[in-house]
Symmetry: C2
Subunit: 735 residues, 2 copies
Amino acid sequence: MQNLDTYLWPKSVALIGASPEENNAKAGIRGRLTSVLLQHGYDGEIFLISRSNHEISGRKTYRSILEVPSDVDLAIIATPAQYVVDEVRNCATVGVKSILVVSSGFAESKEDGAAERQKAIERICRLNRINLAGPNCQGFVNTLNGLFATFAKPYDKPNYAIVPASGRSGRVAIISQSGGIGNGYFVHTRLKEMAASYILTTGNEAGVNLSELIEYVLDRGETSAILVLMEDIKDPQTFIRAADKALKMGVPIIVSKIGKSEAGQRAAESHTAALAGGYSGTQAVFRKYGIIEADDIGEMADIANGFCHFGNCLPAGNRVAILTGSGGGGGLMADAASGAGLVVPELDVETRRSLDRVIPDYGTSQNPVDATAQGLRLVRYSGLIERVMPSSEIDAVLFVASTRDTLTFELDAERLTEISAELQKPVLVWTYTVPFPHIQEMYGEVGLPLFTDLRNCTRTMREMADYHAFRTSYLSCPVEPSLPGCDKTSAASLLVGMSGALPEFQSRPILASYNICEAADLLVDSPESAAEAQASLDVPIALKVQSPSILHKSDAGALKLNIKGPGAAAKAYSDIVANAKKYDPDAKIAGVLVQPMMPDGVEMILGISRDETFGPMLMVGLGGIFVEILNDVAFAPVPLSRNEARRMLRRLKGFPLLSGARGTTHADLDALVEMMVRLAKLADDFRDHIAEIDLNPVIVHPMGEGVSVADAMLVVDGSFGMSKQDQHRTTHSAA
Amino acid sequence: MQNLDTYLWPKSVALIGASPEENNAKAGIRGRLTSVLLQHGYDGEIFLISRSNHEISGRKTYRSILEVPSDVDLAIIATPAQYVVDEVRNCATVGVKSILVVSSGFAESKEDGAAERQKAIERICRLNRINLAGPNCQGFVNTLNGLFATFAKPYDKPNYAIVPASGRSGRVAIISQSGGIGNGYFVHTRLKEMAASYILTTGNEAGVNLSELIEYVLDRGETSAILVLMEDIKDPQTFIRAADKALKMGVPIIVSKIGKSEAGQRAAESHTAALAGGYSGTQAVFRKYGIIEADDIGEMADIANGFCHFGNCLPAGNRVAILTGSGGGGGLMADAASGAGLVVPELDVETRRSLDRVIPDYGTSQNPVDATAQGLRLVRYSGLIERVMPSSEIDAVLFVASTRDTLTFELDAERLTEISAELQKPVLVWTYTVPFPHIQEMYGEVGLPLFTDLRNCTRTMREMADYHAFRTSYLSCPVEPSLPGCDKTSAASLLVGMSGALPEFQSRPILASYNICEAADLLVDSPESAAEAQASLDVPIALKVQSPSILHKSDAGALKLNIKGPGAAAKAYSDIVANAKKYDPDAKIAGVLVQPMMPDGVEMILGISRDETFGPMLMVGLGGIFVEILNDVAFAPVPLSRNEARRMLRRLKGFPLLSGARGTTHADLDALVEMMVRLAKLADDFRDHIAEIDLNPVIVHPMGEGVSVADAMLVVDGSFGMSKQDQHRTTHSAA
């Protein structure tokens, strides 16, 4: 594929299917597309292609792209679906670099031939190295070069500037599979006086996909925050590369992913031919890269607004001052801020003294700082902000305003504009009334983000603080490229010839080659050797039947725990082998594993499973009721940094059981983190081969005493050592 | 106090402190109050009282209320605080029935004499049986008689009708301690085309309080939903009576209570002299009466809007059809609806067939029903609604609309108006763009509530379904006024002379008189009698030292469990008595309790504690990590119906451990519910005397095998049997 410059920054554009008939139902979309393309001052060349019109809006038209006299970077195709394949072929003939197909009637349609049509244009573009965007989308807007390749209504003769005049904050990019929602984001952000860099809708993503566009927008560098509506992720590797890049650059991605619910998946599948996929893996990837998830469009716009204003001075912590002229408003904000995980400390004496000089005696400087309506008229917004800003007790400011009482704000606008340009800590404003449009504009000009939704305001501040802390941690603790004692060659040689679920005695050596646990202990094959083994160990032991067909050993009665004495060991051997044969008479039994009982500790489960989009995921959870009743587990894609492993543990509801809180013993978290990181490395190194790992239970001993794996099972995909093609064939026929 | 008719529906009003000077900073509030009072068509008599003006707005003024020639129902006092006491006295002299003081400078102020001033006007009004509203408030609006007794800006020469013209839905009442937020509610509801009946702000609540106003508004019957901002609850009994009345009438109360966080409590305390109080008790009361809690103002207005439109046809269940012209919008809605606990089922064959006739082949009828933008233009909103409405698979409809593409909606308005008047199931509309004001108005006229926030839309539907189900359950299962086997006389006689924490042997008989558990078993006083007791019982026993000074018996080593055999019993007796004496040499030991060990079951805790506002609360939770690590407990005020008890249990995260889910044994929930109801009755019958009950652990045995109380402690307030005055004195000196 070509560089996307010829798509979003073309020197020349041809519109195939141009039309002047804006109000004709049939050509309505094409007419509006033509009009929108011409009205926003794009300064490259525009060629209009139309079979039925000699001129449109005073411009000469061409009957075909083949007749256009000069090179065309981008062709926009808006004809009915049945003509699109021919037009794409013509574009290839004349060397067009990028094609945007807005027409519907492709893979999303149940009509005969529609899916084949999409395959045909994909093939032509692939062979000719043409960027193919769409089909079935609403096109895009690049506000930076005035190229509006879209028929969406919000850009057709708007009675507002697409980019607000004030321009005091960073730009937001909007990238959406759904055209309607993408433009919904635009309307919401614009009404908040935000400036957009790009609004990109991708539809069926036959070629150009969301992930590439995110990366492109980041590489261009004009954007401070990215809003994404995602139905599926067609290109997970690019997505991950882009997500990592965004986090390193400090450009937050705020995403709504459709398909969290079964009904949402149904909707995505029928809409843009997307396969939404399981959600926990996607969510784990979002979390790994600090991607912010939200549902509501206004909420997402609000979060982006905070970052566009204060991306360069994010809060260093989560302590806020609340400033208000309304006691009730201050109380609501205090509860909402606390509920969002922000801290509202009482202010320091010096700051309070400075505030008390300007606040009436029926107000208060404690925090929330209630200047009262009367006091606010005298000290003004700017006066309060200036007085609390130097306090070492706070990292940010939440201002509660009434935007119906506009006079105070209008008198203060000039001073506010001055101070907002030099703020060292972010200030977000929430209004408990609803702003008149001119007041919303004034806030834009002043340079402060205005929120009408209390939840969004407090959540935005919390997200900004979290993002700052998370990014710092991410940059300071990368995944270690190599870990001492992880012997990939040895693991690979142990995997050769293995396939399917491996019993513990085969799984352990592989884990041991990454120092995850000890290799398998003794395998015995008679009651006598079981008795001998017990006698020589002289500690209580466990006996476990080893058979690839008996994976649930408890259910089969194929294991016994806490066996003391050789006689008991011999009897236990006979019992469990008999049980195993009763359970499955055809089971091939490789022997019985002898294991000393583990010392006590907190029971956990640790595992690897494969997400269909993002590959292997590490899962960790506390055992017993935590996993069974509360489903208290955390996921993360592999490999894993130590910080990530720690964060996963802290997310568990049962974390206090490990951390020594509330009278429990402090567990050996360092050893557990080490095991998680190694397990993740093993899963990453063999991501195409190891389908699943199940360490259950893992016993976390008290601090300094390590972690034991009490049972282990690997599942190997296909048969390791076969060629990739063979493997593919095997996997495929198995599925 | 008088009936509030003379406050909110007076025949005549006097404004004391009337002023023409709207723009003079000092008299600004008074000037605007005068102007607002005169401009909204109130048809009672208005008398303006002013010392410095002979006439205002062409009206004669009076120098004092004493000079007014006829009876005054309501006097509004807006003078500076220092004149208010005299004016109140004058009002009393001429027989004014109700007084509203909007002035500040009373209990909320730290100024010398301010608190005394409030006490003075309270006293005068109480003695003269005058309704006193305020002080320190923004007054009120009654839209039904045009009485605007407020200086709030949204009512001063508005460029919109206060009550929208369409008037197709029920009215909302707004009741707020904070004036700013109360009027914020008004602005939000009005922009959603909602009609308000009353907007009442209460400030310091020296006399008239929130609870009375809620009850008054309910009794009047003009209101379909009530929005409340609450800082504290000064009159809990009235609040509970009003809450019960509202639920019976089907008028939902939607409340935001300040003081959920420590910072919020600080704000409330400094604002309107409110004491916010603990939150879990308040929340339990809200839950008992189906009161809906929300934080954001727009969110509350949205929820009220749903009820105002569909209070008479609430959804019978939680299954929704989603209708959309945007696939992306449908997907977002499907996820949000599922996330809000709604079910989005695939539609039935018949409904799908009817939809498929009008939906293009690149749309879908499955649910979400995606008609596509093109399809929607043909079938229109009304066509889709009519086709899904008869489906027996759904209880309600969520419609996803673009309000920028207005033509489709405008062409459909007439038909939509017809069908919306006859809907049997609610239809809520969410727009992913932002509506132009005239479109918002059109939705109001059509009779469908329009939401711009996705979360609010799905939450509103869920709240409507929950409210319907909850109310049905509440009406069908009242608290039983008497329970067989609850012997109040016997419990009272056991309580005589008791005070403080009662050891188990004294607590059990009291619980037994309400059939909560068996009375105390054997009390022994020597190793020999302990051995004899064990021998005669011939089961494993527990021995527990009984002393009012040793409440934490385990910590003191003062109990032993699972004792088998007379010798062990004798030894255990000696050990624990020795331990107890070591733990507290001065402890008075009443004996040692002998108890057979309880059979196995799920360990729970059950208790009574006292909320400072609402009195005794029953608490229930699972034992062990559930209470210790997860704080998994539920509260409810007493008494308790069986349905309420069941709902409390279902709210517990650990409920699956009781309900037989995921392989656990089905516990005897009926017996547990019976115990909860009886314990609640005991706490209610002795609400002034029993301060605390602690049953820990309670063992819930498998279905049919009952519940055992393994340990019990009552705490008696003061000394039961003393006169109320004595008790008060005792309690007071103890605190």
